[in-house]
Amino acid sequence: MAYPPQYRYTKEHEWVDVKGDTATIGITDYAQHELGDVVFAELPKAGSSVTAGKSFGTVESVKAVSEIFAPATGEVLEANPELQSTPEKINTDPHGSAWLIKIKLSNPAELAGLMDAAAYEAYIAEKNKEASA
């Protein structure tokens, strides 16, 4: 699956798509593949706040529960309502309809430290090499 060039990526395998001061956050195709079949997503309520680098929710698959880390600080505008009934979308469309939350950025400068698609692809290529080594 291609990594959208306009997104930014974290080392913990989240992506963030910034439009103005709104950021949409999801997990990457690599992350969903590592997790396996997703059965549940535990997401914050609108109005709560998330902090860059801190866990804001969990994604549960049949074999693990993983923390999701916020790529940036801000106030939660919306959690994806469709994931309550169809969490498996995280496996099929992680970069699109299975976004997790939208936040209002409080410090857009934080995003400067994140990877672009090319850097992220190189990062996971390295990970895959380590895994097969």
Partner: protein, 448 residues
Amino acid sequence: MRYLPKSPAERQEMLAAIGVRSAEALFSSIPERYRLKQPLNLPGPLSEAEIISYFKERAAENSSGYSSFLGAGVYNHLRSVVTDVVIQRGEFLTSYTPYQAEITQGTLQAIFEFQTLMCQLTGQEVANASMYDGSTATTEAVLMAERLTDRRRVLVARSLHPEYRHVLQTYARNCGLQLEEIPYGADGTIDRKALQGALRDHVAAVVVQSPNFFGAIESTAELAGTAHGSGALLVVAIAEGVSLGLLSPPAEADIVAMEGQSFGLAPSYGGPFVGVMASREKFVRQLPGRLAGETTDTEGRRGFVLTLATREQHIRREKATSNICTNQALCALAATVHLTLLGKEGLREMAHQNLSKAAFALGELEKIPGVRRTFSAPFFNEFTVELPRSVKLVNAQLLKEKIIGPFVLGASYPELTKHALVCVTETTTRAQIEHFAGALRQVLQQSL
């Protein structure tokens, strides 16, 4: 578990393999002064015949021929030898935790049946594979309510079993929970006005027991409405499961925590018991411990697995929903076998006998001058009476008549000195009740 003896030669071989001169060297990190330098003070080996005779002597020390009116969280009920025979089958008795579904279908199915029975009894949608006992189940229910509501204040009925409250307090002290006690009213049930007042704001859960520690039956449906009105959850603790044979289940509660001892577990030595935890399906991800689920295998056959285990400690470490690592599988199995033998009608009949005999006992006791019923609320198989004398002294006299007297309420409730909690189950005969009433009358007439 097999005992694997090691010869001195084998010990040497193992020590050589790890490069240590002696077994003592393995303990070098323990300061010298804490190490035991002489052999343990144990009696020498006995022959088979000596061991049998030793245990026969110890068994003969057991008392017999006593009648008991003591309940207070532990209940003497009829048990069938069938239960003991089934749980002593090697496949159940020695099997360890069922992580590998391929080789543990029997254990998993038994847990699944247990969960099903607990849901039917409590009126709840999901039940876990069991907890240690009623007190830890109640505490886990409170912790679950805290996670669900993200609130820290918990209102606990003073009529909740004193030991359950102690366990809850131990946990609360170390995890930032704020417990507040709600008094009981004149009829023995929770003081509704006090509850309403304390519910002002940010309450995670209201915790009540029904029948409560004094035997009084609480209106759990009404209390659920009160709790929900301020966004709090209702946790219902049940110490006497047999009451569910007659009483309507606490279906309106959000979490039910029950002691399962009444279902086929002997009251001897105070354990082991089995905790029950049931809740609504929408809260299943915050339910601690493990759950067995039904599924189909690749060939479409019915099978059982541990499900939702991803939140357990062996997978999620410190972020697990609870520090419980296992369940009371064998006790849960005993409860399952016991309830299956009884059936729905049997449990109802058993509950009915408890109620009838307790009501008869109260009538007999009330005929004694100076004995007065403490609370007016309806009860199941336990009720509270006030005596004109110290219950402790009365009990000492009753014991001479081979009667184990009622629970001394003053021990846990200083305001209830001279009040006794009397328990009567289906195992208590009419003759025993009459003997108890007669003995009590006589004890109270004597000048102590």
